[in-house]
Symmetry: C2
Subunit: 353 residues, 2 copies
């Protein structure tokens, strides 16, 4: 009969490649159950979107076989408990992720929506907040035009906005509270108080990740969000052009300022190239080539992936069904890979702290 | 010997098709000189970018031939004196044109730059102001990165910024006054005072047109510019997607508000389609089809033209030589046509007033 100690000893040879410590030291092994020739245990990852999940499971099986007995049946349950940024407990949101760029129209909303859906697809409790006061895109992207979120009075008397649930994620947009045909000529302070309300006075519940779709620029909304909330990290979206990169650099610079200091999780290059159906071998680099990778190298931050120009992405954004809800679409795979890298970066940052 | 009266009588049969009155009533005929079998006169148009220039010249020649004598030599000088919006005399700028959209990244800066260059190409005194505080694009688009405008002290003690002259137009960008690698986390009031300075404290000199490249959204900059300056009209840029059109509608709504009331000069549809060099017959409507024309119809405002997705436009924006400085480029012709329609709309509005 093997013992729990033997199992822990064996698993202490398995390293978490990102966190560079073994699973036992990291306290990731739980609920060890031994019956006869069978051992089962839980590996509690730092995120359900861990790109190394299969790799770690495999390494655990190997360790038991190698250090204890290769004939023993091993039942590994891969679960997760998302690490949270300190200070977020108040809101019940473990990680607030900003999707930002500096430049307008590069695909922030597209990346934010599909990142949130991909995190959800991997099993994370996910929310999505559209902070683009002047041009909210998410009501259209999620087919929720004209929707009005409910407000619920809690027992303590406070009134809280209920986010709308769609495709498994909790969603809120300033666009739900305004007439879509009316402009919102708000000066900064009004915009600032609107965004605070959407964050503070909302029943977000427990979330592993809240993705915030930021407006273009580095203005009032950025300053307010960055200074008043514990942001876990920022994803920078850019297209390959020089003018877009220049704005991305400004956007990144804002997060790196001493007074703000938000970790950069990496860069997504969007609208990288176009391939006509009739010429599947051709890539047309309409907006230039490789700007995103160069930027990532220069700033020594991860390159999270590139997304080509695809009519399907634009159509999906317009018809209320974001592309990442279709699990078979090849673009979905690209967004899942991005989501995994984002979650991975957050785990590394949180674990090191 | 024919008389001036005969000439005026003949020309009173020539109608200005836009203004729907004859040239004599409109006071557009000047400097009539009669020598023997030759008559010369000046036709003072309301804009050098008048798309009907050739048509009007032709109609004048016909009128002289028909009503006076078909053997007389006619020497027509087509000149112009741009009508100005009332109240602009203070600044010496006849017409301030906003290029706006609501949505980010649709090509406002590209259209603003090429519109200004096209107005100049038609002979108008033109300026271009980049009002995108958070993501100024014009320094890169005009190859003027790192440029620092001079300030000059006038005799009356006031200090005025000198716009930079490039490709024949007077240019100023908030980007000239900031470090391109530094973010500008400015709250609204700082942005507002920056834009006022660029308009008030600058030696713009006499300009027929000042084109302002607006930031995305409908925020502080928009409110400040719209409320504090006599704006002649706004050009709305959109791409064909539903999400872009929704923002364009918001942007247009702002200009139409009673308290703002800025004429909409028309809609430009940008990034309309892509045609690979290998398949010159094909048009790929990556972002959807015809959204701009539908919007123009719905709002009963002019459709100014469509611009396809072209690597040349993106490259031109990145390398400091906007496409419209190349007179032979077919895209330049599209921008010239847009500029003519814009000038035409302004003339119609000013003349009716
Ligand atoms: N890879 C892509 N292929 C095709 N269309 C795309 C792609 N990425 C984004 N789009 C479309 O381009 C438009 C701009 O994208 P999106 O709205 O996500 O940009 P944004 O950065 O959020 O813009 P804004 O600055 O206005 O908030 C949308 O219509 C979107 O559907
Ligand atoms: N028709 C086109 N074909 C190819 N590239 C284009 C076209 N129009 C604009 N671009 C490129 O797309 C990018 C966005 O255009 P531009 O900067 O003019 O948009 P914008 O509306 O001013 O953006 P922002 O909201 O950030 O100010 C630029 O790199 C520009 O060169
Ligand atoms: Mg957006
Ligand atoms: Mg711009």
């Amino acid at each position: 009969m093997i013992t729990k100690e033997q199992v822990l000893e064996a698993l202490s040879y398995v390293e978490e490649p990102d966190l560079k410590k073994d699973l036992v030291t990291l306290n990731m092994i739980q609920n060890i159950v031994i019956e006869d020739q069978k051992v089962s245990f839980e590996v509690v990852l730092t995120t359900p979107a861990c790109p190394l999940k299969d790799h770690i499971e495999h390494a655990c099986r190997n360790a038991i076989a190698h250090f204890i007995d290769k004939n023993i049946a091993v039942d590994v349950h891969m679960t997760s408990r998302v690490l949270g940024k300190e200070g977020n407990q108040l809101l019940g949101i473990k990680n607030i992720i900003l999707v930002s760029s500096g430049k307008g129209g590069v695909g922030k909303s597209t990346v934010a929506a599909n990142l949130a859906l991909s995190l959800h697809a991997k099993g994370a409790k996910t929310g999505l907040l559209d902070a683009d006061i002047y041009g909210p895109s998410l009501p259209i992207m999620f087919g929720l035009e004209g929707e009005k979120p409910q407000s619920v009075q809690h027992e303590d008397g406070t009134v809280k906005i209920q986010p709308i649930e769609k495709f498994g994620i909790k969603l809120l947009s300033i666009g739900f509270f305004t007439d879509p045909n009316q402009p919102i000529p708000w000066r900064g302070p009004m915009a600032t108080s609107a965004i605070k309300q959407l964050l503070n006075d909302t029943d977000w519940g427990d979330l592993d990740y809240l993705v915030i779709d930021m407006p273009p620029g580095t203005g009032d909304i950025h300053i307010t969000v960055a200074q008043n909330y514990p942001i876990a990290g920022a994803v920078i979206v850019t297209t390959p052009q020089h003018v877009a990169l220049a704005d991305a650099i400004k956007g990144m610079g804002m997060f790196l300022m001493d007074s703000i200091n938000i970790p950069l999780l990496g860069i997504v290059e969007n609208m990288a190239y176009f391939t006509p159906a009739e010429l599947p071998e051709n890539k047309y680099y309409i907006f230039g080539k490789g700007g995103g990778t160069r930027l990532a190298e220069e700033y020594k931050i991860p390159f999270l992936g590139e997304i080509p120009l695809l009519k399907g992405i634009s159509d999906a954004g317009d018809n209320g069904f974001p592309i990442a809800i279709d699990e078979e679409d090849p673009t979905t795979k690209a967004f899942i890979a991005i989501a995994e890298k984002v979650a991975q970066q957050l785990s590394i940052i949180q674990a090191v702290r």
